[in-house]
């Protein structure tokens, strides 16, 4: 690895530029995917020249990796805070709610991951099979515990999790389609109630 500016305490300018690059990269990568994005686009969006951008990150790949690893943690936070000692139904409903809020407030992040996973997760496979897998294993056990004690109805815990992910992220990932089909109506007006009703009926003992 070559010396990179951030190795020895970054100046204010360096911090600002790195942040601007990552912000621009999120914009570009999330709408065009990795290969569909160009360094030029990112540099332009960040207000830098292409060589200047490549002074901060050694390669396009490096930008993408830095972006992903920075976001994954935040992205998994809602699931991480599913509390085994809380009230099962309320825990699940508030998880659904938080995921839906993230789709509304951070749609680019959702699409970034969607792009990557639809294409077979070539740059994220490791993170999936280690970090995410461990977290999911832990939380499906929690769900199963709640089913065992009859606090929620018995269903397949993995499919239950997948359903939450797909139902909530759909509003970010397929945003264009959703908006075309709903016209003026804001999807996020009715979605919370729809999802709450769905999970109450599905899980009420």
């Amino acid at each position: 690895m070559r010396d990179m500016p951030q190795d020895r305490r970054p100046t204010r300018i360096q911090k600002k530029n790195r942040a601007a690059i990552l912000e621009a990269a999120l914009d570009v990568f999330s709408t065009h995917g990795f290969r569909g994005s160009t360094v030029d686009q990112i540099a332009g969006a960040a207000g830098l020249s292409k060589p200047n951008l490549l002074y901060y990150f050694p390669s396009k790949e490096a930008i993408f990796t830095a972006l992903l690893s920075g976001l994954l943690d935040t992205w998994l936070d809602p699931l991480r805070s599913l509390n085994p000692d809380g009230d099962p139904m309320e825990e699940i409903l508030s998880y659904v709610k938080r995921k839906l809020q993230m789709s509304r407030d951070f749609p680019r992040e959702s699409r970034l991951f969607a792009n990557e996973i639809v294409q077979g997760a070539p740059r994220m496979f490791d993170a999936l099979s280690t970090d995410l897998k461990a977290l999911v294993d832990e939380k499906t056990k929690v769900l199963e515990g709640w089913m065992d004690t009859g606090q929620i109805k018995r269903t397949h815990p993995h499919h239950l999790l997948f359903s939450i992910w797909s139902l909530t992220q759909h509003y970010a990932d397929f945003d264009v389609q959703v908006r075309v089909l709903m016209g003026e109506e804001d999807p996020f007006d009715a979605a919370p109630e729809f999802l709450e009703t769905l999970y109450r009926r599905l899980l009420k003992p």
Copy 2:
């Protein structure tokens, strides 16, 4: 428009090659997206040279367009056959079932559309706002009719449709993630029952 071979009754070879190209294109486009795919890749997968491929289709864009318009009809068939005169619950459940089968049997088609829509549907926007919109307008009316007469519980018809799409297509679009997290277990073993239960509980009057 320039003369293209298929204009005057195609020979057997031409038919075969066009089919091979579209098959290869489905493979490549669905895993890399439009910009992530190269004509070379498609030609290679189809067993043709690059110039030879471009004899059959004038451009990469043309391949993609031909592919999309050929697939969209089939893709919407399940929704089209939702029968207003059938039993509401059974109609919806069999729609869900067919969509799930399509995710299992035609995951590439699902990912092709997913890639396109996640990236803002730059090449599909028209099809969405005309064909799909018309079909969805028609079918949401059917759903509303069933709710009005109390044959199924009242929910938001658009969100109901979105839920069916996202829940079923998730198994195709996020296949890598699903399989990493479920390990040996085949997702399609338990999914049908999970979804049937979900929609019975959601919609039973």
